[in-house]
Symmetry: C2
Subunit: 195 residues, 2 copies
Amino acid sequence: MQIDLDLLYTWGAISKEFKKNDVIISEDEVAHFYYQVVEGCVRMFNSNDDGKEFTQGYFCNGQSFGEPPLFINERYPATAVAFQDSKIIKLSKEKFLKILDEYPSIQKKFLNLMAHRIHSKAKTAKYIINQKPEFRILAFLNANKKGNGDHKELVPFTRQEIANFTGLRVETVIRVISKMKANKKIDIVNHKIYF
Amino acid sequence: MQIDLDLLYTWGAISKEFKKNDVIISEDEVAHFYYQVVEGCVRMFNSNDDGKEFTQGYFCNGQSFGEPPLFINERYPATAVAFQDSKIIKLSKEKFLKILDEYPSIQKKFLNLMAHRIHSKAKTAKYIINQKPEFRILAFLNANKKGNGDHKELVPFTRQEIANFTGLRVETVIRVISKMKANKKIDIVNHKIYF
DNA sequence: CGGTTCCTTGAGGATGATCAACGAGGGTGG
DNA sequence: CCACCCTCGTTGATCATCCTCAAGGAACCG
């Protein structure tokens, strides 16, 4: 949880329900609000002319998203849509910045959060630029693994989602993961991937 | 300038000279220091097995670098070397974090800095994943343009450097920029690129 | 069941990488 | 001043890889 919900409501935040695929933030829009997921999950992504998409990140229960443009006078670099039916709380930029001023501990938490984001984006860039499809997919799987790697977990993404995240095409993802199954790097049971 | 030099020295920072290509930070190292460029320029990058490199960023006069791992217990995701002979000031992690605590205005400046970094990395990822070589190069050129685009500027990077930044190969960069010259998107005078 | 979403496979093609060789400029030392 | 070296830029030929396009199958859900 980033900011306490009661605190947010005290400062005038309102929460809103979004149906799956509803647009929450549009690319290139000016940033006016702080957003935090109360329930559900949000996907940030870019589309290009061909309709090909690149996923910048998923933000689920309790996570905030779309904060960077609030700090620096820039527009949103990507679009955010509800990945599932979701409940999102939003607060005006001004009040959000005020909260940070009033609560140094919260400001510090955000500094840490931003540092995490940079770190993860740096790693993503590293893998995506240099490496072969299998490396990209492994990097994605590792980055999204919950546990410490001592046992295999169900991967909660479709092949299309993995493709969008790694910049590959679905067919390529499918072919690579079947090779990975053959090499025992992952398991596939009933079309579901375990890593 | 991120942090005032006098302040840094007061807190026990020391400065050090690095010759071109000297390693300042190694990938996967634990983060113990805050670094700030006093003079010169630093390059952060990753190498892969083939020796192919990907540039995460350049940090010049007055800019700090390698801060994210100081906030979150992670190792450096990349290596930093002096791009030119440089003078770098460094301060221990503990004292750096203490400075942030003592000077809220500095902490806020870092929050803004981190937000900028995320924004720029998000844009980089967007272009690199989706787009054709020409788009990648244009994105790189735009991101590094100083002025507002009303006139052409000398691009202070070699073709190899552009390749490292965009994840392309030198030969590809060369071929694409000659096409771009033909299309009047850039000028080339005496092998130098103007954009 | 019928529809929708997701997964799978094959064939063919485009594109960027790779490899090899050479040219051009700038700086250095004899 | 010239010879050398070193870095950077350039070009062509060939190759490997991933994308594209097309078609169909499997799973899931109302």
